[in-house]
């Protein structure tokens, strides 16, 4: 019964794509959020995990065009979630208005420095290589 439910969740290509993109977003967001809130930049190890996730997600999707479109959606959603998470606890209850603005600016710089430009290029390449390998071998 449980196996049937699991099979139903991934029974069609669209459902598989939906689950892969949800997990992909959760994975990338987690890697970058953990790095951001610990030291405000991602180490090579963390970038490696992000690239590995992109490779695996691309292989699971197994279609270059779909991988490309999904990757763009995933990276945009990840950035939006990271911005939301980082500014959410900022409040004038704790800091002045100027302070909130200064910290917001620093956090935005940290997020963009963490993801752009090389990590995003390497992740995109990994997902495309993964999807090409998925198409051909898996």
């Amino acid at each position: 019964m449980q196996v049937n439910k699991l099979e139903w969740l991934i029974a069609t290509e669209n459902r598989k794509l939906l689950w892969t993109s949800i997990l992909w977003t959760a994975g990338l967001t987690s890697v970058y959020a953990q790095a951001l809130f610990t030291r405000a930049y991602a180490t090579w190890f963390e970038q490696g995990i992000a690239i590995g996730l992109c490779f695996a997600a691309g292989a699971l999707i197994g279609n270059i065009a779909r991988s490309l479109v999904t990757y763009i959606g995933v990276i945009v959603t990840t950035v939006v979630i990271l911005i939301f998470l980082s500014v959410q606890p900022l409040s004038t209850e704790y800091l002045s208005t100027v302070g909130v603005a200064v910290i917001q600016r620093i956090l935005l710089i940290a997020i963009f420095r963490e993801i752009f430009p090389f990590p995003v290029i390497l992740s995109l390449a990994a997902s495309l290589v993964g999807s090409a390998m998925g198409e051909r071998y898996v």
Binding site: L23, Q34, A40, I49, A57, L95, I106
Partner: protein, 193 residues
């Protein structure tokens, strides 16, 4: 041959999917912990508590009216935030005679007192500063401005300093005056918070 190939394909996809889900599950767990900690960061900055215990007495073995001043600053992070380090503490002090308004001023420099200390939740860290005054201590009140140089997760972009004002004529603890970021390699710098 065809069915063996199909079986291999399913196994590879399933194995990849299992690894994919497992890595994400671990990452989500780690990130949730970091994010929950981060959500208390600003509260920790704003609610940091500094208290001052001051002992003023005559300088031992000194027949003149010189005084020995021992200031013990107690720093406490009353929140659950667990990744803040006090890199250094410094104090500017002003000693005012309440009868004739005579003043003396001084500064300890920012490295006075202690080595870098983790400001763990609800743990009080004490920093002691000693100095001598070439004056008798009677009728003087002490005004300290304490600066904490903080090491936080933002260290690669901005160093944070918290300043507190401590007035010995008032019984309550020190008051937070400002939180100032010193930007590192960012255009425009930063202002007081």
């Amino acid at each position: 041959m065809q069915s063996a190939s199909t079986a291999w394909k399913i196994t590879t996809i399933q194995a990849l999917a299992v690894v994919f889900v497992a890595v994400i599950a671990v990452e989500v767990g780690v990130a949730t912990s970091s994010t929950a900690n981060y959500f208390q960061f600003y509260k920790a900055l704003a609610e940091m508590q500094v208290r001052l215990a001051l002992e003023v007495g005559p300088l031992q073995g000194d027949q003149s009216a010189n005084s020995n001043v021992t200031a013990v600053f107690s720093i406490e992070n009353p929140t659950g935030y667990g990744s803040m380090i006090m890199r250094a503490l410094g104090a500017n002090f002003r000693v005012v005679n309440s009868t004739n308004d005579n003043q003396i001023q001084g500064s300890t420099g920012l490295d006075a007192g202690s080595p870098p200390t983790a400001l763990n939740p609800n743990v009080v860290e004490n920093v002691t500063i000693n100095f001598h005054m070439l004056l008798p201590a009677a009728n003087y009140k002490f005004l300290f401005t304490v600066t904490l140089d903080l090491s936080t997760f933002l260290d690669t972009l901005s160093l944070l300093q918290s300043s507190f004002s401590c007035d010995t004529s008032q019984s309550q603890g020190c008051t937070l005056v400002s939180i100032t970021p010193r930007s590192i390699g960012l255009p425009g710098g930063g202002g007081g918070l």
